[in-house]
Amino acid sequence: MTTNEETIEGRAWRTRTGRSTLSRRSFLGGAGVMVSLPFLEAMLPSRAAAGAGAAAQRLLAFYVPNGIHMPAWTPTTTGPGFQLPPILQPLSAFHSELLVVSGLGNAPAMPDGFGDHASGAAAFLTCTHANKSETDLFNGTSMDQVYAQHIGSQTVVPSLQLGLEGGGNTGNCDSGYACAYVRNISWVGSTPLSKVTSPATAFDLLFSGYDPGATAQELARRKAKRLSVLDQTIGDAEALRGQLGATDKVKLEEYLDSVRDLELKVESDGSALACAPGVPPGEPEDVTSRCRLMCDLMVKAFECDRTRVITFMMGNAASLRTFGFLGYPNGHHLYTHHGDDPANFAAIQAINTWEMEQLAYLLGGLAGVTELDGTTLLDNSIVYCSSEIEDGNAHSHFDLPVLIAGRGGGLIDPGRHVIQDGVPLANLYLGLLQGMGVETSSFGDSTGTFVL
C-alpha cells in the first residue's frame, strides 16, 4: 500500500498566476485561516465530536437560485412567534423549527465589474472573493467542506453534492466568470466539487456495494481486489508526477486525492448499512418529482449515516428554468429582473413559494425519522437555505434571505426571526462550524462569531 501521510503535507503548487494552491486535503478554512489538519486525526473516528451516544450533527445547505422576492419573504415581526410571510407559508408546519435571520451580508460575493450570480454562488458557502476568469479558478474552501473535513472518515461518504440542473445550455455563463462558479457551491480550495444531478447515480454513490447476501469472505476478497486496483492507480500517477509542469501537477494532485478518497471509502466500508436503502430511484423528467426524489435520498443518506454533509442546488445561479406548470413560461432569471413590474413580482413569488414547498417536503422527511436516542433527524440537522443574491433585480449581496431549519443537536434555538444588520454572513458560518465542533477562530471575512 502507498502511505497516505504524504497527502497532507500542505504541499503548495504554484499556479500560473503565482497563486498558491494547496492540495485538497491540506486546506482548511476560508481566506482568513489555514490550518493543517493532521491526517490521522482527521481520519480516525472522533466520537468526542458527536458525543458518545448522542446523535450526530448533520449539515445540509439548500441553495435556491436568483434571489428571493424579499417583500414576501422577510417576516414583519421579530422574535419568537414571528409572523410567517407569504413565501414561508408552505413551512408553517415547521414554524417552531425555523430561524430566520435578516440583515446578513456577504461582501466577498461582490463581483469585479459584472457577474453577481457567478461571484455570489462562488462565495455562497465560501465567503471568499472568487477570481474573475474563464479559466483560472480561485475560491476558498466552503463551510460544508470544512465540516466534512472535521468529520473525516466517520461516514463512508464524506460529503455529497446534489442538484437539479447539470450543464444546461451552452454559451457564456456570467460576464467573464467561468461556468464552474455558477454551478457549484461546494469548493475545496479552488476545486469545485461538481454535483450529481441524476437521482439514480446519487443512490449508487450512497448505497452501492450493498449486498446483503455476500459472505464475509467474499466481501474481504472484493475489498482486497478493489484496493489492488487503486494501489496500481496511485502508483501510475505518482510515477507521472515528476514529469509534469506546475499546472499539470495541480490537476494530478486533485486526481490523486480523489483516488485516495475512494481508497479510504473502500477500506472503511464493508459493514452492514444502518438502515435499508430502499429501491433505486428512476429519472423522472418532471422537476417537482425529481426534486422530491433527491429530498428522499438526502433523508435516507442521513438516516443510514452514509454522510453527514450535503449541499443541494435547486438550480444553477442565474437559472433559466421555466415554470410553465405554475403558469410562468419564461426563464426564472428573466422574471427576477422584474423592473418593479407587479406581474414579475407575482411570478417570482410563485416560484419562491414552490421552492419552499420542496424545502417543506425535505423537512417533513427529516422530521419523520426518529434516531436511536428518540430525537428526530430534523432535531439533529442544520438545514441552511439561502440564495446567491438578495433581490434579482438589484443584485445585492447584503440583507440576504437566510433561513435555518432544525436544531443542530441543540445548537440552535429556532422559532425566531432575528435581525443582524450589516453582520457578515461569515460570522454565521463561523458560529455554525464552532457549534459543530470545528476548532477555528475565523472563516472567510468573519469579524466575530454569530451567537446562535
Binding site: 474563464e134 479559466t135 451552452t170 452501492s208 486496483v229 507521472l240 509534469l244 499539470d248 433559466l320
Partner: protein, 501 residues
C-alpha cells in the same frame, strides 16, 4: 493533462469496447464549461465523486464486455489468447499490452505491463478464474491517469521552449479534435511508423477523418456549442398561448435542420461563408409549413432551395431564432449579442447593474424597434446597444419561433441597420451578406475553432499563428476541410511548451 470530457469518455469507451452499447458518462456530473466549450483543460478536474463513478463504470463495462459471447464479440476482441495452464502470465501480458496501447493511446512500457500482470497473477493465486483476474488488470488501465487524461509530456517541464509533440500525442490531439474520441488503428499505425507529423500526411488524414462517421462529433460538440445547436435539446419554454403550434416535435425538426445543414460543410467543399448565406436548407413537413414552403414529397427531411423565400443561412433558421428569443416575443438584444460574440468575436460588456429589464410586453403596443429606442437614448446603454440592437433588429422579420412576418404589432417592420465596422443593410438578408464578406467572420471562425482544438484560451503569443491560419483558411476557399487542415498543420497544434518559471 487534459481530462477527457464526458462526451469524449463515452465515445472512447464506445470505441474501446466496440459493439457494447453503454454510456456511463450520462450519470456523471456535468463538465465545467469555459469560453463557451466543455473541453477547456483548466477547468476540468477529477473530484472524488467523479473518480468513484469512473471506477464503477470501468468495473461494469469490463464485466459486460467479458460476458459477451460469439464470433467477433467484444470479449473476443479483447481476450485475444487462451491462457494455457501455467502460462496465464504470457496471455495476460499479451491482452494488457494490446488493450493498454489502445486505452492509453501509446505503447505501454514493460514495467507498466509487468506490474499489472503481477496483480493478475496475485488474483489467480487467490482463487480467481482467469476472466476475473484479467478483469482486474483491465480495470487498472481504465482508471489510470493515462486513460482519464490526455497526457502530454515536456522533456523539460519548466522550459518555455516549444517542442514537437510525439506522434502519439499528435494522433491523440487530432482524433479528439475531429472525432471527440480515441485515435483509430490507422492513426496509431502512422504514429508507430513516426510518419504522422508531416504536412501531407496530416492533410490526407483530415480528409479521411472528415469522411468517417465519427466526424459527426463536429456537429454535436463543436457546432453544438459554437452555434448553440445543443440548446435545442432543452425545453425552450415558449409561451404556449402565443405559439400553440410550438411543441417538442417542431423543436426537434428545428434541431435536425440545423444539424443536417452543418453536416453539409463536413461532406461538401462548401465555403463556411454559406453558414450565414446558404440558399438551401433541409425541411420536413412541419418545417416546410413553418417556412411557407411546399411539403417534401417523401416523409422525413429533404434538401430544398430557398429561392424566392426570405431566408438565407443559419441566422434565418427557426432553431437559432427561437433560442435567441423570449417566451413570446423576439429579443433583438440576444440576437445581436450572439452575432457579435459567436460570429464576430466582439463581445460587448454586460449592462450596468439594475438596468437589465424584462422582455417587452407583447401587449404594450408599438414595435420592438420603438421599445428598444429607450436603450439607445440612454447614454449609459447606448455604447453597447448601438452595436447589438441594429444587428438584432435586422432579424425582426422572424418572430420568437422563427416564422416570417411583415408586421410587428400591426405595423410594418423596419429591419434596416448597420454592422460594426461599417456597412449598412436594408434587412436580415442584406445583413447576412455583409456579415459573410467581412474579415471579422473569417477570423472569428478561426478563433472559435482553435480554442476548441487546443482546449485553452488563446494568448497574445497565438496571434501570429491565428493570422497564418486565417490566411490559409481563406486561400482554401473557406471550406471546413481547409480550416481544419490549417489548424492541425500549424505549429501551435503540433508543438507544446513547458510553463517556464
Amino acid at each position: 493533462m487534459r481530462r477527457l470530457t464526458n462526451t469524449e469518455y463515452d465515445n472512447t469507451i464506445r470505441d474501446l469496447f466496440y459493439g457494447l452499447d453503454v454510456h456511463p458518462a450520462e450519470g456523471f456530473p456535468a463538465d465545467e464549461v469555459s469560453l463557451g466549450f466543455d473541453n477547456i483543460a483548466d477547468v476540468l478536474s477529477v473530484t472524488p465523486v467523479l473518480f468513484e463513478l469512473y471506477d464503477r463504470a470501468a468495473e461494469q463495462t469490463i464485466a459486460l464486455a467479458l460476458a459477451s459471447g460469439g464470433a467477433g464479440s467484444v470479449r473476443e476482441q479483447i481476450l485475444t489468447c487462451e491462457p494455457a495452464a501455467g502460462a496465464e502470465a504470457t496471455c495476460a501480458d499479451e491482452i494488457l499490452r494490446a488493450f493498454g496501447k489502445r486505452a492509453w493511446r501509446r505503447p505501454l512500457t514493460d514495467d507498466e505491463v509487468g506490474e499489472r500482470v503481477a496483480r493478475v497473477q496475485e488474483a489467480l493465486a487467490g482463487g480467481d478464474e482467469f476472466d476475473q483476474a484479467i478483469a482486474l488488470g483491465l480495470h487498472t488501465l481504465l482508471v489510470s491517469s493515462h486513460f482519464l487524461f490526455r497526457v502530454e509530456l515536456d522533456p523539460e517541464p519548466d522550459s518555455p521552449e516549444a517542442h514537437p509533440l510525439t506522434d502519439y500525442e499528435l494522433a491523440t490531439r487530432l482524433s479528439y479534435f475531429i472525432w471527440s474520441t480515441m485515435p483509430d488503428e490507422e492513426l496509431m499505425d502512422l504514429a508507430d511508423a513516426r510518419e504522422l507529423n508531416d504536412v501531407a500526411v496530416l492533410e490526407a488524414q483530415v480528409r479521411r477523418m472528415l469522411q468517417d462517421e465519427r466526424a459527426e462529433a463536429l456537429v454535436d460538440d463543436f457546432a453544438g456549442q459554437w452555434l448553440y445547436l445543443r440548446n435545442l435539446d432543452y425545453d425552450l419554454g415558449k409561451d404556449y398561448e402565443t405559439f400553440p403550434e410550438m411543441d417538442a416535435e417542431l423543436q426537434l425538426s428545428m434541431k435536425t435542420e440545423a444539424e443536417m445543414f452543418f453536416r453539409t460543410f463536413i461532406t461538401e467543399p462548401r465555403s463556411l461563408r454559406e453558414l450565414v448565406t446558404a440558399e438551401d436548407t433541409f425541411v420536413d413537413a412541419r418545417l416546410a409549413q413553418h417556412y411557407g414552403l411546399a411539403a417534401p414529397q417523401g416523409g422525413g427531411f429533404e434538401r430544398v432551395s430557398l429561392e424566392g423565400v426570405p431566408r438565407r443561412g443559419m441566422l434565418t433558421q427557426a432553431g437559432i431564432l427561437s433560442v435567441l428569443s423570449h417566451a413570446s416575443v423576439t429579443s433583438p438584444v440576444k440576437r445581436g449579442k450572439w452575432v457579435l460574440e459567436q460570429l464576430m468575436c466582439m463581445g460587448p460588456p454586460p449592462p450596468p447593474p439594475g438596468v437589465e429589464t424584462p422582455p417587452p410586453s407583447p401587449d404594450a403596443g408599438g414595435t420592438m424597434r420603438e421599445e428598444l429606442e429607450q436603450h439607445r437614448a440612454d447614454p449609459a446603454c447606448a455604447g453597447c446597444h448601438n452595436l447589438m440592437d441594429p444587428i438584432g433588429l435586422g432579424l425582426e422579420h422572424y418572430d420568437a419561433i422563427g416564422r416570417f412576418r411583415e408586421l410587428d404589432n400591426g405595423q410594418p417592420i423596419d429591419a434596416s441597420g448597420t454592422l460594426p465596422g461599417g456597412g449598412s443593410f436594408e434587412d436580415g438578408l442584406g445583413m447576412v451578406a455583409l456579415l459573410a464578406e467581412g474579415d471579422e467572420f473569417a477570423a472569428c471562425t478561426v478563433r472559435k475553432t482553435l480554442t476548441y482544438a487546443l482546449g485553452r484560451s488563446l494568448a497574445s503569443a497565438d496571434s501570429p499563428h491565428l493570422e497564418t491560419i486565417v490566411a490559409e483558411f481563406q486561400e482554401a476557399d473557406m471550406t471546413l476541410e481547409g480550416l481544419l487542415t490549417a489548424v492541425v498543420t500549424n505549429d501551435t497544434f503540433r508543438t507544446r511548451r513547458g510553463e517556464g518559471q
